[in-house]
Symmetry: D2
Subunit: 301 residues, 4 copies
C-alpha cells in the first residue's frame, strides 16, 4: 500500500486561508481527511466535501498516518503538537507530521525531538504563495526531513503545489530557507518603496516606474503584485498582514542572533515594521511599510 492510494489516513490541522485551500485540494484528489481547526466553523464546507471534523488535533492523526499542520505561529504549533490531545501523543512509528507553517529553527528542532522520542517522523514543508495560489495548487513547497518520510509524502505535496524543493534530511533546513525567502521579500518592499518615493519626487509616477521594473529586470509575479500595492499605496486588503511580517522579521533576527549573523537589512525592516505598528498599521498588508518611507520624505503626512 502506498500513500498515493486513497485509503491512506490523512489529517489536516489548521484551516485558515492557506490550510483550508490545501486540505480542499487533497480531498478533491480523492483523499479522505480528518480535519481540525480552533474555530470549527471553518471546516463546514470541507465536511460537505467528505472530510471528518475531529475534536482535538491529536484525533486528526492516526498512529502510522500522515498529519499536516498549517497554523499561525510557533506557539500555535507547539499547542497542536503537545499535550495529551496533541499530535505527538498520537503518532507512533510509521507516522509522519508534516508542518507547513513558517516557524523558528528552534521550534522546529524541539518538535523534531518530540517526535523522535516516539519513533514518528517530522517533515517540514513550508510554502511560498498567497491563498489564491494555494487554491490553484500553484504553491512553491520546500521540504526537509528524513528521506523515507519525505518520499512518502511527496505525491501529496505535489497535489498542493506547482513545484516541490527537497532540502535534505534536516527539517531545520526548510525552516531557515523559508525564513530567508520572507526576509528577501522584506528587502524587496523596502527597495521598491525607496525607489518609488525617489521617482515620485522627480515627477515620475510611482506606477510608471514600477511598470518598467516589473516588465524588465524584475518580471516575476512577486514584483508585479507587490509593486502594484506599493505604487498605489493600497494596503487595505492584506494578502499578508504587517503584524505577521513583523513576527517573521523577529524570527529572522532571532535565528541570526543565535548563529551570530549580523543582518542589517533585517534590522532595518524590523524597525520599519515596528514604526508601522506604532502607527496602528498592523492589520494592513505588510507592504504598508512603504508608507513610512513616504512619510520620511515629507509626503502623505
Amino acid at each position: 500500500m502506498t500513500i498515493t492510494e486513497n485509503n491512506m489516513e490523512i489529517g489536516y490541522v489548521g484551516l485558515g486561508g492557506m490550510g483550508h485551500a490545501m486540505a480542499s485540494n487533497l480531498i478533491s484528489k480523492g483523499h479522505t481527511l480528518r480535519v481540525w481547526n480552533r474555530s470549527p466553523g471553518k471546516a463546514a464546507d470541507l465536511v460537505a466535501q467528505g472530510a471528518t471534523l475531529v475534536e482535538h488535533p491529536g484525533q486528526a492523526a492516526a498512529g502510522d498516518g500522515v498529519v499536516f499542520t498549517m497554523v499561525a505561529d510557533d506557539a500555535a504549533l507547539e499547542q497542536v503538537v503537545g499535550g495529551p490531545d496533541g499530535i505527538a501523543a498520537k503518532l507512533g512509528p510509521g507516522g509522519i507530521h508534516v508542518s507547513m507553517s513558517t516557524v523558528s529553527p528552534e521550534t522546529t528542532q524541539r518538535i523534531a525531538a518530540l517526535h523522535a522520542e516516539r519513533g514518528a517522523a517530522f517533515v517540514v514543508a513550508p510554502v511560498f504563495g498567497r491563498p489564491t495560489a494555494a487554491a490553484a495548487a500553484m504553491l512553491f513547497i520546500l521540504v526537509a526531513g528524513e528521506a523515507g518520510a519525505r518520499d512518502k509524502i511527496m505525491p501529496l505535496l505535489e497535489t498542493m503545489g506547482q513545484r516541490v524543493f527537497p532540502l535534505g534530511d534536516d527539517p531545520v533546513a526548510a525552516s531557515i530557507v523559508k525564513l530567508s525567502g520572507n526576509f528577501m521579500i522584506m528587502g524587496v518592499i523596502e527597495a521598491m518603496a525607496e525607489a518609488a518615493t525617489l521617482c515620485e519626487k522627480y515627477g515620475v509616477e510611482r506606477s510608471a516606474m514600477m511598470d518598467v521594473m516589473t516588465q524588465s529586470i524584475f518580471a516575476t509575479p512577486l514584483y508585479v503584485n507587490y509593486g502594484k500595492l506599493i505604487a498605489q499605496h493600497d494596503y487595505a486588503n492584506p494578502g499578508f498582514k504587517l503584524s505577521l511580517g513583523f513576527k517573521d522579521a523577529n524570527l529572522v533576527m532571532a535565528a541570526a542572533r543565535k548563529a551570530h549573523v549580523p543582518m542589517p537589512l533585517a534590522s532595518m525592516m524590523h524597525d520599519r515594521f515596528l514604526s508601522a505598528l506604532a502607527k496602528d498599521r498592523g492589520e494592513l498588508d505588510w507592504t504598508a511599510a512603504a508608507l513610512n518611507v513616504s512619510e520620511d520624505a515629507g509626503l502623505r503626512s
Copy 2:
C-alpha cells in the same frame, strides 16, 4: 525620409563593452555609422564592418543627425558633449543626442539645457543588461525626451533591445528610473548575501538556498545570475565593477539628497561598497559586497 532608412546619419560615441555591442547591432541592420572612442583601437572591427572612425566626438555628429553616447560617467559625458570639438557644438536644429549612460539627473538637466540653446533635441535612453545582453540585442531600454525626437529614434532603439519603455518628455525621468533600477539591484545583492550567510550558518549550502529562490518566487535572469555569483563568492570576472556600483550608489544618494528623500537602504549599500573599496575590491564584480556580509559573520576572515 524616415530614420529607419539606411542613409540616415548616425554617430556612436563610446565603444566599451556596451557601446561596442550596440553600435555593432546598428551596423548589422544596415546603418552607416561614424564612431568615436577615447582609445581608438576598440573601433577596429567596427571599421572592418564598415563604420568610419572619427577623431573627435563632435565629428560623429551631423548637424541634423542622430548621435548616441555610451560613456563611463557624468564627467566623461560632459567631456564628449562640451567644448569646441564636442557633440553640442555640432548638433543643430533637427539633430538628436541620445545619451545611454547612467548619469545624474543634474547632468541630464545641464546637457538638456546645452542642446536646447542650439535647437537640438536631447533624449535619454539608459539600458538594463550586461554586455552579453547588448550583443544579443536583448537590452531593456528606457527612453525619455521630446516626443518628436523620441519617435524618430524609436526604430533604432528597437534594433538594440528586446523592449523599449517610453517615460515621457522630460529626459530626467529616464535618468531617475534607471538609477532606481540600479538601486533596487543593490538591495537584491544585500538581501541575497544576508540570506545566504544565514543559511550557510544553519548548514544549508548557499547554492541550494539560491536554487530554491531563483526557481520559485525570484525566477528572473537577474536573480539567477546574481544568485550564482553570490552563492559561490565568484567575483573575479566583473559584469559590473564594484567601483561603478559605488558610483551609482553615490548618484542615487545625491539625487535623494536634492529631493529630500531619506533612503536608508541606499545609505547601507553606500557603506557596504565603501568598505569593499577599503579592502581593495573595487575591480571585482559589485556582488562582491557580499564578502563583507560573510566577514561580518566571522566567515572567510
Copy 3:
C-alpha cells in the same frame, strides 16, 4: 528602630565584582550582613570582615529585613528570587527586596507582582559605574519603588554611591532608565570608533583626537575612559564584557519592541556586537565593537 541603626537585618545576594564591593562598603559602615553567592569562595573576605555566609538566597532575607541582589541577568535574578529557597518565599510584610541588576522591564514587573502577593516591597536600584567606582562608593544609583520602602533604604544606597536619583513609585522606571543609559553608552562607543577611524585615515593619531574631545566638549570620566580604550584598541581587560553589552542591546531592543519604539541606533549596535561575537570577541571589553569599525575601513585586517 530604623534601618540606619546597625542592628538592622541586611542580606546581600550576588558577590561578583560589583556586589562584593557594595557589600563590603555596607559592612565597613557597621552593618551586619548575611551574604550568598553561587560560588561561595567569593564571600571569604566578607566573612573575615564579619559577614555570615548562608546556603540559600532565601536565608539572606529576614522576613521584614532588607535584601539586596546584584546578579548577572534576568535568569539569575528569577532564580534567586523564586522557588522554596528563594528570596520571595522568605520576605513578608515589611520586607524589602532591592534589585540592583540591569534587567528587563518585564522581569521587573514579574518580580514586583511576586513580592506584592506576600506583602513585601520591591525596589529597583540599578547603578552606573564600574567595580572601581563601586569600591570607592562613587556609583550613581537610580531608585524606583514604593515610596515608604524607598525612604527606608535611602541611607543604605547613599553608603554605596556618590548620588542617588529617585525615579518614583514604579520599579519599571529605574529599569528602563538604566537600560537607556547603557544604550547611550553604546552610542558613544560607535561614535568614538567611527570618528577615531576617520581621523586615523587622515593622519591624525586616534589618541590625539580623543584627547581633544575628552578635554573639551566631552569632558566626563566616561568619555575619558572609553576614549582611551578605543584609541589604543585595548580591550583585553574588560570592565564590562562585550557579551554582556550584547545582552543589554537585546534587552533594549526587546523593551523597544514591546513599546513600539523603533531604535535604529540600538539595532546598529546589536549588529555590531553580533559581528564581534561571530569573531570570538565576547570576552573582550564591549568597546571592542570598535575593532569592527576599523576592519570595515580596511584597517587591522
Copy 4:
C-alpha cells in the same frame, strides 16, 4: 615686535554670531581690527568699538599681518579667499590666514596650496561652542598649521577661548577633528532622542530621564544643553540650525568617502536630517532630528 603687541595688523572676515563675538573680544583686549562682512550692518558696533570697516575681504588682510575668517561654509570661504579682492591676493610672506570655519579637508587643502604659492601661512582653527560661549571667550579652539605661524597667533586664540588644542603642522588635522566632533554630537542627539522616546513610552518623563543622565555619567554642558532641548522638544531658537547640521553630515560623509571609511552612524544621521528637511525643519535647531524619532514611534504625529 610680537603679535601680542597691540599695534599688530589684524583682520576679521565674517561677522555672524560667532565671528562678531570673537572680533569683539580681540578689540576689547586692545587689538586694532579691520573687519569685513557680506552685510556690512553687522559691523556697526565693532566700528563703534574702534574697528575699521573695509570694502573687500582682501582689504582686511595686510601683507604680513594676520587675518581671521569665520564664514558659513566651503563656498563662502573660497569666495573671501580667492579672486582679485580676496585674502590670498593680499597676503604675502609673513602673512597668516587663520580659518575658523568648519569646512571640508579638501577645501582646507586647496586653500593651503593657494597661500603656499604666495609664501603666506595657512592655519586652521575651528572652534567648539555656541555664540554665548564665543562672547564669554569660553570656546574650545583646535589649531593646526605651520608651527611658526601657529605660535605667533596662539596668544590671539587664547584671547578668544578657554583652551587651545594644537594638532600639528597639517591644517587638515584641525578640519577633520572638528568634523569628528560635530559628528559625535550628532550621535548624542540620536542616542538621546531614542532613549527619551523609549522612556516616554514606559511612563518616565523625558526630562526625568535626561536629568539622571546629565547629572551622572553624562555630566557635561553639551549633554545638559542638548538634553533639555530634546526632552522638551524645544527647537524654535536654534543655537545651530538643522540645515547646517545637515551640511556637516555631508562634509563628514564626503571625507569618509574619500578615505574609504564606512560610517553607518553618519549615514543614519544624514538620513535623519534629510527627513527633517523634507518636513521643513531646516531652520530649527539641529536637535529637532529628535522629532522624527518620536514620530517613528507614533508620537506627536
